[in-house]
């Protein structure tokens, strides 16, 4: 069974901090995704990656960057966290299959 692991379940950070959200998958999937989920807005795609060192912007990339140095790991970076980035962040991976999600990281920026 596919396992997508996000390093933190809950995070609290201060405005202006640099924040790293880590995601690891164990099924050798080429495609990995970062979404944020907000009430009433559903899941919105921030960035995705279809291969090592390859990345594509999603619908809401502003204020975020990503890193994919190894196939199994996809990191989301908030260069300078702001309160409007308080949200649930979901990582996912797939390979010609439905998305497999991690359990999410609930980030609060104060």
């Amino acid at each position: 069974d596919v396992k997508v692991t996000q390093s933190s379940r809950y995070l609290v950070k201060r405005t202006g901090e640099k924040v790293f959200l880590e995601c690891v998958q164990d099924m050798d999937h080429e495609n990995m995704f970062w979404y944020r989920q907000d009430p009433g807005l559903g899941l919105r795609l921030i960035y995705f990656s279809y291969d090592v060192k390859m990345k594509e912007k999603g619908d809401i990339p502003e204020g975020y960057s990503v890193s994919r140095e190894k196939k199994e790991r996809f990191s989301l970076i908030l260069e300078s966290a702001s309160t409007n980035q308080t949200s649930m962040y979901l990582c996912a991976s797939r390979e010609n299959s439905p998305l497999h999600f991690g359990n999410g990281t609930r980030l609060t920026v104060t």
Binding site: F33, G42, Y50, G58, L99, F101, N103
Partner: protein, 112 residues
């Protein structure tokens, strides 16, 4: 821009009721429509639909796609409290690589 709209936004029913959740979409080069169930953690996959009129069924849950009218429904019969969750609909298009566009979700609460 691809668009997915789910209705209702939220729903409260009693155990044993039957519910129908709706998902309408606008997408270029449609590939598939997917339903997910999300409780407190990760969304879990329910169904993938690619062809019109063919019902997918899993226990008390079933779903069907209408590619002409651009919508899908998810039915849950004899609801149980364990069905309480947010149900997400997503569409995939050939244009967008492997990206999915999600709807806002329907929050279902099943009361005992």
């Amino acid at each position: 821009e691809d668009k997915v709209v789910q209705s209702p936004l939220s729903l409260v029913v009693h155990e044993g009721d039957t519910v129908t959740l709706n998902c309408s979409y606008e997408v270029t080069n449609f590939r598939s429509l997917l339903w997910y169930k999300q409780e407190k953690k990760a969304p879990t996959f329910l169904f993938m639909l690619t062809s019109s009129g063919i019902e997918k069924k899993s226990g008390r849950l079933s779903s069907i796609l209408d590619k002409k009218e651009l919508f899908s429904i998810l039915n849950i019969t004899a609801t149980q409290t364990g069905d309480s969750a947010v149900y997400l609909c997503a569409v995939e298009s050939y244009n967008a690589g492997n990206m999915l566009t999600f709807g806002g979700g329907t929050r279902l609460m099943v009361k005992p």
